[in-house]
């Protein structure tokens, strides 16, 4: 859409989550890993949800996972989103999960338990987002 250029927020400055978004901007997926108990968790919190330690850091993720659940949205909450799109809760193989999109295939092809891997796409505000695509398609590229 043409219009006045709006200066986008620098997501890397966000408290707690800046490193996550900075990695996304570089095309990398990271997740918080507890330095004491080893637990991966998401969303980022100031302390580990398993042992309450603040001694955690962002570590690279393989970006491979499986669809825990998915729903195709036909009526978006705001006009910024173009329907249909597939919202999914993806279990990533290091033992954490996140809300995301499944892209790279028709919505009707997305199924629970499907193997997926991360793919960086543009979000509604132009910022990069970590979406996921079917694993087979990724391997065929």
């Amino acid at each position: 859409m043409d219009g006045p250029t709006v200066e986008r927020e620098d997501r890397s400055l966000r408290p707690l989550t800046g490193e996550f978004w900075a990695a996304v901007d570089r095309g990398e997926l990271v997740r918080p890993v507890c330095g004491d108990c080893g637990r991966s968790f998401f969303v980022p919190q100031f302390s580990c949800p398993q042992c309450q330690s603040a001694n955690w850091s962002y570590q690279p993720s393989s970006g491979r996972g499986r669809v825990y659940s998915c729903t195709t949205v036909h009526r978006p909450p705001t006009p910024a989103f173009e329907a249909p799109y597939v919202l999914a809760d993806v279990d990533v193989e290091e033992g954490w999960h996140l809300l995301t999109w499944i892209v790279g295939c028709e919505p009707s092809e997305v199924a629970i338990d499907m193997a997926v891997s991360v793919r960086f796409v543009a979000g509604p505000d132009g910022h990069r987002l970590p979406a996921f695509a079917p694993e087979e398609q990724e391997a065929a590229r």
Binding site: Y68, C70, T71, R75, T78, A88, H97, L99, I112, P124
Partner: protein, 388 residues
């Protein structure tokens, strides 16, 4: 235990709901006050009797400070002894208010709220568009959060879509018969109508999902002792409980964590009441979507996981059925009013127990079950009410 439980030393003595519509040409404050005054009048009380308030302060005027309930002291023109902003509606507020009056923190607690002039022409209410940075960027909304739970259920149990849709049709038909409902006269509905409505977020079609409307609701809670001298036959709070799994709209709800949400609260509520879910004569359940109704009958233990749609198909959810359900038309068809929707459930349950529920009256209803929130919201609450 000797004597009644603390919760049972309080009673609901007044209820009210204003007119309901898609849009009302007034303010949230004005409509909320109108509901509050009507509930007091229903009880035979006045503003001067109120010494406890659970409400949101919507402005204009006042401040943005918490507790907003204290802003209402200026409207009522006298000081208060107890305020409760934590969750000032529905089951949690009724339980908090009951505990407050039973403990002597105040004597007459007024719980009220709603919305008007608030929807601003949006397709969905702003409270259904979460602003968390890991949710909002994906275009999630309340319906989609609940859909993520329902999709796992469908994947595992493949419920008959017609039997699920029949539940929405029954609730919406009850709303069609209720002259006060936003969707009054729009039915009756069949399962086929529900299945033919536009898809919103799979598996939810438009007619599976609740309204986003305007209006307000209120309830008055006082001691059982004072209740005896008031205008209405009191309604007793027999038991209640809440479960807060986690904050909503931060992490997506997961079927394996939330499908049974409320089971512990329901066990505690019915244990206090000395009853079981099979003893409820009428069910005013939080029907933010059709699958949530299925879920709650499974959560209550009235049927097994995966069998809810078949169970309700056979049991019947109409006024003549085994489990009369959302007799006012519920959130699907009567109204859903922001900070007042959960209170509407209590209002209808109280009217059922008084025998004044109108088109949806269940004959000789003595025990009513009221619930709030749900799996996609990641918290749930349960209250058992009885004829006083």
């Amino acid at each position: 235990m000797s004597g009644p439980h603390l919760l049972q030393q309080a009673a609901i003595v007044g209820v009210a709901a204003t007119e309901m519509a898609r849009r009302l040409d007034t303010t949230s404050a004005e409509i909320s006050l109108r509901a509050a005054l009507a509930a007091l009048d229903d009880a035979g009380l006045t503003v001067a009797d109120v010494d406890g308030v659970a409400a949101r302060w919507p402005g204009p005027g006042g401040t943005v400070f918490q507790p907003g309930s204290a802003d209402w002291a200026d409207v009522f023109g006298h000081p208060l002894r107890w305020v409760c902003d934590t969750y000032p509606q529905g089951v949690p507020a009724a339980l908090d208010a009951a505990a407050a009056v039973a403990a002597g923190l105040c004597e007459v607690a007024l719980v009220f709220g709603g919305q008007a002039g608030a929807m601003g022409g949006a397709a969905v209410a702003d409270y259904t568009r979460p602003d968390n940075e890991f949710i909002a960027c994906w275009g999630s909304l309340t319906a989609a959060q609940f859909a993520l739970v329902a999709q796992v259920y469908r994947h595992r149990f493949a419920p008959d879509p017609e039997r699920v849709a029949a539940i929405a049709a029954a609730i919406r038909s009850a709303g069609s018969d209720n002259p006060a409902a936003v969707m009054a006269g729009r039915g009756p509905y069949t399962a086929a109508d529900v299945l033919a409505s536009p898809m919103v977020a799979e598996p939810f079609r438009m007619l599976d999902l609740c309204l986003a409307t305007e209006g307000a609701a209120a309830m008055v809670i006082t001691t059982a002792e004072r209740a005896r001298d008031l205008r209405q036959r009191p309604v007793a709070i027999l038991g209640g409980g809440s479960e807060w799994h986690r904050q909503q709209y931060v992490n997506p709800p997961r079927y394996d964590e939330v499908w049974g949400l409320g089971a512990d609260a329901a066990r505690r509520a019915f244990a206090l009441a000395g009853l079981g879910p099979q003893d409820a004569d009428v069910f005013e359940l939080y029907d933010i979507n059709t699958y949530e109704v299925v879920r709650q009958f499974e959560m209550l233990g009235l049927c097994s996981e995966g069998e809810g749609a078949d169970y309700l198909w056979e049991a019947g959810v109409g006024v003549e059925g085994r489990h009369p359900l959302n007799t006012d038309g519920g959130l699907l068809s009567y109204s859903h009013i922001g900070w007042g929707g959960p209170t509407l459930k209590v209002v209808e349950a109280v009217r059922q127990l008084r025998g004044t529920a109108g088109s949806g009256q269940v004959a000789d209803a003595e025990v009513a079950l009221v619930t709030g929130a749900g799996a996609g919201a990641q918290y749930h609450n349960v209250m058992v009410l009885g004829r006083g």
